[in-house]
């Protein structure tokens, strides 16, 4: 089973046209058409999955996450449009660069290879996985949860129809139908045949993928994100930035968890947040006190709250003596995802941005700006906190590697005198 999956994925990779071929643009258009025409069947299959999930006793929140609607189709069509527009800039080779007087160097984009994506109970990821890596010429193995088996089968039919219409090998996308975790484990043990692993899901799943094998992993490690508010900051703006960084999507990976605020302005900062009356819980540490107001609830920050994701509309506030203490805190508790600083002092901003190591540091703005489309970097399949190859939004261009093509025109190393 595993061997067959891997060999057909590799064969499709080799049979696929080179990066930048018009077939990938055709595939985007065909995928939009096939998804649209088959959406009634996808929804019918999805109803089966949802009913089965209810019968099995899955919690309502998980059942809802499984459910697809017309809105999901609209979202996927917008994504396909965006990816189509990004395809040219992301995959066009750079012009040749002269090498001395004897040759030229070309950096030619190549797919990463066979990409294994594993994710939990979110059927739209099946389409994202069949789109973003594939338009970069990769062959993908998609392993969703068994809860979405019927939906995935219907989506796979649409995807394969689109691949064939576009003149691409159908084997470029394999939706793994066998839900047995032994297949998943067997694939993790094949660094010789799987080039990249992209997990999307719970911390336990991502940690497992990182530690269970030697396949390079592109993953977001979750966002334990901080906002440092310097004493020079406009505190009303800092409060607005903190709330915007949290409230729209409290469990997102780029959301805010803890505000580190210079201690001499900490009370005033808290007062500014309370003044907004926003629907949020402030967990106050370091002896800070405040009265609740409007929708703002006040609680105490516990030691185990440091370094955690609240996954709800809760923001911790901890006073710090200075920027160095803030940097020290982020180094100890941060997850290298998204950090921010609010300050009118260029020296403090520079000290924070140099001292903190994260995929993105936002200066005087919301942490939720760290998003591929919002930053103009392109559609993303995740936000990587890894240190190598890609950090931040994982866009089409991040799913490519390259070959250096050396146009040597008969040159010999011996003739170069070195």
């Amino acid at each position: 089973m595993t061997e067959q999956l891997l060999s057909s994925a590799r064969a499709a990779l080799h049979a696929a046209p080179p990066v930048g071929d018009p077939a990938y643009r055709r595939y985007c258009g065909a995928l939009a058409e096939h998804l649209t025409s088959s959406w009634p069947l996808v929804l019918k299959a999805n109803e089966e999955d949802v009913a089965a999930a209810r019968r099995r006793g899955l919690p309502p929140v998980l059942v809802e996450r499984l459910r697809l609607t017309e809105d999901h189709l609209d979202g996927l069509l917008r994504l396909i449009d965006a990816v189509t527009a990004e395809l040219g800039p992301a995959t066009t080779p750079a012009p040749p660069v002269p090498i001395g007087d004897w040759g030229a160097l070309r950096k030619v984009p190549k797919p990463l290879g066979v990409v294994f994506m594993v994710y939990e109970a979110r059927p739209t990821v099946t389409v994202e996985g069949a789109l973003i890596p594939v338009v970069a010429g990769n062959s993908v193995l998609l392993r969703g949860g068994k809860e979405m088996a019927a939906t995935d089968e219907a989506l796979a039919t649409a995807v394969h129809g689109a691949l064939v219409s576009a003149g691409l090998p159908a084997g470029l996308v394999t939706v793994i139908e066998d839900p047995d975790r032994s297949v998943f484990r067997a694939l993790l043990r094949r660094p010789d045949a799987v080039d990249v692993l992209i997990p999307r899901g719970s911390p336990a799943l991502i940690d497992f993928c990182r530690s269970a094998g030697s396949i390079p992993v592109i993953a977001s490690g979750g966002g334990v994100n901080h906002l440092y508010v310097h004493g020079s900051a406009d505190l009303a703006r800092a409060a607005a930035i903190a709330l915007d960084s949290k409230l729209a999507e409290p469990s997102a990976c780029n959301t805010l968890e803890l505000v580190l605020v210079d201690e001499h302005v900490a009370d005033d900062f808290v007062a500014e947040v309370v003044r907004t009356g926003a629907d949020v819980t402030l967990k106050l540490g370091g002896g800070l006190k405040a009265e609740p107001g409007g929708g703002v609830r006040i609680a105490e920050l516990a030691s185990h709250d440091l370094g955690r994701e609240f996954l709800e509309p809760t923001i911790g506030v901890l006073p710090v003596p200075d920027v160095d203490a803030a940097v020290e805190h982020v180094r100890r508790y941060g997850s290298a995802h998204t950090e921010g600083v609010v300050s009118a002092d260029d020296a403090a901003i520079e000290r924070f941005t140099r001292g903190v190591d994260a995929a993105a540091v936002v200066v005087n703005g919301s942490l939720r700006l760290h998003d591929g489309p919002t930053l103009g970097l392109g559609s993303e399949i995740s936000i990587s906190t890894g240190r190598l190859h890609v950090r931040g939004p994982v866009t089409v261009s991040a799913l490519l590697t390259h070959t250096w093509v050396v146009e040597a025109r008969g040159a010999l190393r011996a003739e170069r005198g070195n």
Binding site: E120, P203, R308
Partner: protein, 93 residues
């Protein structure tokens, strides 16, 4: 220590380790008591993480656990989870 008691110690540690990871906490497993709520002030475990938790537990305990181990049950505390995993580990042997 009997085999059963040894199993309970091993399973309890594995379960605590996995719920700590799932709750995005960096604390020692010994700091989590058996009657700690799975979804409370300290731990934040929800059903989204079941696949990841299963593979982590299988790896740590060296057993294959049923796919539906966590489905259709109500877990309130860490001990509830330990009991279910312990039963499954004993059944798998």
């Amino acid at each position: 220590m009997s085999v059963e008691a040894q199993d309970r110690v091993t399973v309890t540690r594995a379960v605590k380790t996995v719920v700590i990871a799932e709750s995005r906490l960096s604390i020692d497993p010994d700091a989590v008591s058996g009657d700690e709520p799975l979804n409370g002030e300290l731990l934040r475990v929800n059903s989204f993480g079941f696949v990841g938790m299963l593979v982590r537990l299988e790896d740590d305990l060296g057993v294959t656990l049923p796919d539906d181990l966590f489905v259709g049950r109500t877990f309130t505390t860490v001990d509830d989870l330990v009991s279910v995993v312990l039963d499954a580990v004993e059944a798998a042997r």
